[in-house]
Symmetry: C2
Subunit: 685 residues, 2 copies
């Protein structure tokens, strides 16, 4: 849907261009004129003969034929007709509509918006907006806001669903030194949304010339599967993606809904999707820009950092901040460390952090970086913290940093903590193509986010399950919670081990059942949903006498349809659940049962289909993981078996998309024996 | 120890002053000259007749008598003699030594340092440093680093244990608009440390003229009780204190004999101290400066915020970020809200966030702020997010902000997200005495830290306990773990309910015991420490036969000194512990027992003595708190009773300071019945 005319227009018309550069229609023309556009530029403004020095057409009809891109900055009610004329008579196939007053404002506006989209769709065209700030790339600055960043093909690609937020993020990026390859403000996303632009970037990706850093700001995820597919694909091609999905809290999503008028996106789905795609999730502007800055450096191949500083305090704070992660600051010892120390002033330390004192100089920094690059095999990357107490210029230090960043294969992250006294040095450093991290703790948080984001999960297999049997059961089921026997059959077909169970509703059936299972037993009422709350579960039934008396009671509970008998098993209570979250598909959850899920909410989630690695990671990330490993000599639960069952639930969802909700709670785990004891499955066709 | 000559010197001599302002001795003189010093200035430099235009003395002997403050910027080995002469012949009683090469570098340096301190102590003098950047206040800029902040008596007081870190923090503060009342770089803290400066600030506090914002950067806490006392005192006088204690992850290598002990690191002491004092703990420079910026605003009297914005995205991210706290963004409804809406452009929203759109103007902002101040009773403070897409200047908007911040009684926090296009507006706004928050999410984290920091706990009473009995037991005990009977007596004397228990070591004693307690019983081996691991605990003993057979087994366990019999109690397992942490005193811990303490590390801590409010807050902050409240109809635990027992443990520590470690694990809680079942007490005199 993204046409090349939008990306690299040979000609542009700005409809509603103005001489007043305090107006969007004036500013966008100025930006295009000021920033490098090489094509043919037209303007339409009925009140002027010339706008900013360019001959003005009085209306769109008068324009020459064959214009690649039209940018509309006119009142919303004038847009549909203009689009009609431009598509039908002028061959325009790419549009950016910066005007507001559409779906975001009123029903009438939504109708105007629909008319425009229909028209553009009918010619196979592209539309960015309406209610957006525009598009910027290395070909043209079709955006009405400032500041305009440095265009660079290997800079960041940035897609934003909020124009103003985009401006604020770009502003911050510029102060840090980040260049941009493109900016798309998608506004109301009437036709093209964040996901569509990403799709375009994926489909046109060229490892030589495409930028590898993508930044997203979203307030909802309209097309989760598209986002997932192309994010995964781009990341497997070597890209890095960081995204803010604002409105993750209930209050925040209400605020977002009132801001954009959009639907509330379930955050559990967003989180699972980001994890599965390998998108680094960010929560604020500074956070996003910090992660983007990390992306612009060489890849950290490993997890061991050297911290190099002339000021002890920030190195200590950075060490503290990294201690919340698996990133390491390994000690530097032995001959080479002693050798390095000999180059530094007395009182320096090379333990890591490497502290070469307030008096440390550029030459010493160079030597330290060389040792970290060539001599210390237990170092994968370097963080340099260097500011100034204001005594003398430190161009020499930042030049060494610049040189070493060019030549070293390991990444070097520069923390430059001073803005005022070394403003010129920082400016010079940034002008050489670098990025500044101002704060070591915020840097650490960003680096941890990057490090903790899993690689995209693609090309894996789910366990074999009996698809035919599953489809047959589902096809023959009504909507609602399935009866226990169907649940059992589905578990069997999915290869999920379950406790033997027999439903009885009279004394004769009880006698039959007792031939097959032995005391001690568990008895559960069949029918009511929250069995425990109504006394519908009896544990440890040891005798026929007890069994009969409890049967009498259970069968009389309202809605009781029988009583289920199971052998009394022991082990660690586990649970696995799955819930359909609209277009996100099924979210699979797992954890320990009982209070762990109910009180401590200690659950982990993944978007289906779940790979074995993902399932294992879900288990390992539980707060109660130690219990699964086994504490104080007790038998734990075999993680591989648990992971396999999680995968089987995921495989079941894949075959039976009609399952909206499934809970196995509990499963009882005892070493490699994990057995489903109770399960509920809800089907909605 | 802090003399007035250090704070407001009538005369200063810079020993080692230089014409080279790239040297500390040159720069510090320049800073004093450039910034407002009104007193008499002398310099000593043997090689020059004039230094920076001031007549230079060739050595300290030649100086006139009676100089208030000497700043030393000479080689470390020259300092002791200079200090000797200055104290004995020139009457100098205040010193700032910026020279390095002392205790931080070598043993020889430490000896020089000691000689200096002894000399200065002998005349009752004050010493800042050595190895520091100096002192800055509204009287003089006795500091060799730049930038020099705006001096203002109601600016921040900042005490830093790291000179360079201090520079970086000051740099950031200046860019945000924060003025300073004083900066103390304490360097090696040879005489005066962070705690001593704080003591001075407390003792000389004048609510009219003293600054109410104190910032601390520390890498260790040498005098915790002094810090606690004066921080509490200052905060109760209306001050706000924020502090970084760097190096929190370095602590904690101490092996401990018991579970609770294993989890306590010295950082637990720092954390508990900060909570008790009411100090807002910060973890990085940006964090500290953000909190300091919040401190510079009017007090938020309540927890309900209005978010006012012309850009939806940041408001959504701010709402998200605040959702992690008890701070609220209450909906604005009713007649007044409708009235307000009528002043805004179509499409605006007053739901809260109040979004008055990209086209929103200064006048509308003023109206919104007036409504929040006067009409909406459910609003306690306002956050205004306002940047610019770069179309036109926004001085008018920031002026409205400035005016309303002056007149409104509720705090208004300005989030100004743009640096580049509105640089002049921001500069103007800051020049009017305001502070800029650049990022809404970082602001939210700071505000949450401030909001979550408890008020200082002072002037509370501990429960009455039997001090005489306790002292008698402790006085008559040897070092090490106390025997069970002494533990029981201590619990009784402290009023801590415990399970009835009888120790038996032969059949006759068993028969006697069975007259007093009834089955079911618990049996525990007496002697070994980790009873459970060695099969030393038997639950649910139901008959004499079982009792006798288990007795035979238990009495044969190595180190067994008998067998303890207790009635078998049921309830929620709780624990309370206490451990002495050096000069911090006792840290009291509490939580749920079993896996909650051992696996989930779900513990809360407080520095003794523990107030009732603190004990309650410990309970409420547990992740497993819901279990204490009772889930699914089960009886929980009476929080007031639990809190009272926590206080009793704290009271016991107060009377018996020799207790280095105590664990009550478990206590069994059942409604208002909470009974200690097992306890260990270690005494070291």
């Amino acid at each position: 849907m993204v046409r090349s005319e939008l990306i690299n227009p040979k000609s542009i018309v700005v409809v509603g261009a103005s001489n007043n550069i305090q107006k969007p229609g004036g500013k966008i023309l100025k930006n295009i004129l000021d920033h490098n556009y090489k094509g043919q530029l037209y303007v339409v403004n009925p009140g002027s003969d010339f706008v900013q020095g360019i001959k003005s057409y009085q209306n769109v009809d008068e324009l020459p034929d064959k214009i690649d891109l039209a940018i509309l900055a006119i009142a919303s009610h004038l847009c549909p007709d203009a689009v009609d004329t431009l598509t039908s008579k002028k061959g325009v196939k790419a549009f950016i509509i910066i005007s507001a007053g559409f779906g975001e404002e009123s029903k009438e506006g939504a109708m105007l918006e629909k008319r425009i989209v229909d028209t553009i769709n009918s010619v196979g065209g592209s539309l960015i907006g309406p209610n957006c700030t525009g598009v910027f790339n290395t070909n043209y600055a079709g955006i009405f806001t400032t500041p305009i960043p440095k265009p660079e093909i290997h800079g960041c690609d940035f897609i934003t669903a909020s124009g103003a937020t985009g401006v604020f993020i770009v502003d911050l990026c510029i102060t840090r030194g980040l260049p941009f390859s493109s900016i798309y403000s998608v506004g109301n996303s009437a036709q093209l949304g964040v996901e569509d632009i990403l799709e375009y970037m994926d489909e046109t990706f060229d490892s030589q010339i495409s930028s590898k850093v993508k930044l997203l700001y979203m307030e909802n995820v309209k097309k989760p599967q598209k986002l997932l597919k192309h994010a995964q694909s781009l990341i497997s091609k070597g890209c890095k993606i960081a995204a803010i999905k604002a409105g993750y809290s209930e209050a925040g999503s209400r605020a977002a809904a009132s801001h954009t008028g959009a639907m509330i996106t379930p955050d559990v789905g967003v989180d699972a999707l980001f994890k599965k795609a390998g998108i680094v999730r960010c929560y604020g502007r500074d956070d996003l820009v910090t992660v983007a800055s990390i992306f612009m450096h060489k890849e950290l191949e490993g997890k061991r950092l050297a911290i190099i500083t002339h000021a002890g305090g920030p190195a200590v704070m950075l060490t503290d901040a990294l201690s919340h992660s698996d990133l390491e600051i390994p000690p530097l010892k032995g001959e080479k460390a002693q050798e390095l120390l000999s180059y530094l002033y007395p009182g320096s330390s090379v333990n890591n952090p490497i502290d070469f004192l307030a008096t440390g100089n550029a030459e010493q920094l160079g030597i330290i970086l060389d040792y970290c690059e060539h001599e210390f095999n237990n170092i994968d990357g370097m963080v340099v913290i260097f500011g100034s107490p204001g005594l003398f210029p430190i161009f020499d230090v930042y030049n060494v940093l610049h040189e070493k960043m060019k030549t070293c294969k390991k990444p070097i992250y520069p923390i430059l903590p001073c803005e005022i006294e070394v403003a010129e040095e920082v400016k010079d450093f940034i002008a050489k193509g670098h990025v500044r991290f101002p704060d070591e703790v915020l840097f650490a948080r960003g680096l941890i986010s990057v490090y903790n984001t899993p690689k995209p999960q693609i090309n894996f297999e789910l366990p074999e399950i009996d698809k035919t049997a599953i489809r047959e059961i589902i096809n023959n089921s009504n909507n609602g919670f399935l009866p226990p026997e169907k649940v059992s059959k589905l578990l069997d077909a999915a290869g999920i081990p379950r406790a033997k169970e027999i439903v009885v509703s009279n004394y004769k059936e009880i006698d039959e059942a007792l031939k097959e299972i032995a005391f001690p037993l568990v008895m559960k009422v069949v029918g009511p949903v929250h069995k425990t709350d109504i006394g519908g579960v009896v544990l440890n039934v040891n005798s026929k006498e007890k069994l009969l008396s409890e049967f009498e009671r259970l069968i009389k509970i309202p809605d009781s349809k029988g009583v289920l008998l199971q052998p009394m098993l022991s082990g660690i209570e586990l649970f696995i659940g799955s819930k359909k979250e609209g277009d996100f598909g099924h979210i699979v959850t797992a954890g320990l049962g009982g209070i762990f899920v109910e009180v401590l909410k200690d659950i982990q989630t993944a978007l289906a289909p779940v790979s074995f690695d993902e399932a294992l990671k879900m288990i390992k990330n539980l707060k109660s993981y130690k219990l699964i490993k086994g504490v104080r000599g007790s038998t734990g639960v075999d993680e591989a078996v648990f992971a396999n069952i999680i995968q089987r639930v995921s495989a079941l969802m894949y075959v039976a998309q009609e399952i909206t909700e499934m809970d196995i709670n509990p499963l009882l785990g005892n070493g490699s024996s994990i057995v489903a004891v109770d399960a509920r499955i809800n089907v909605q066709k």
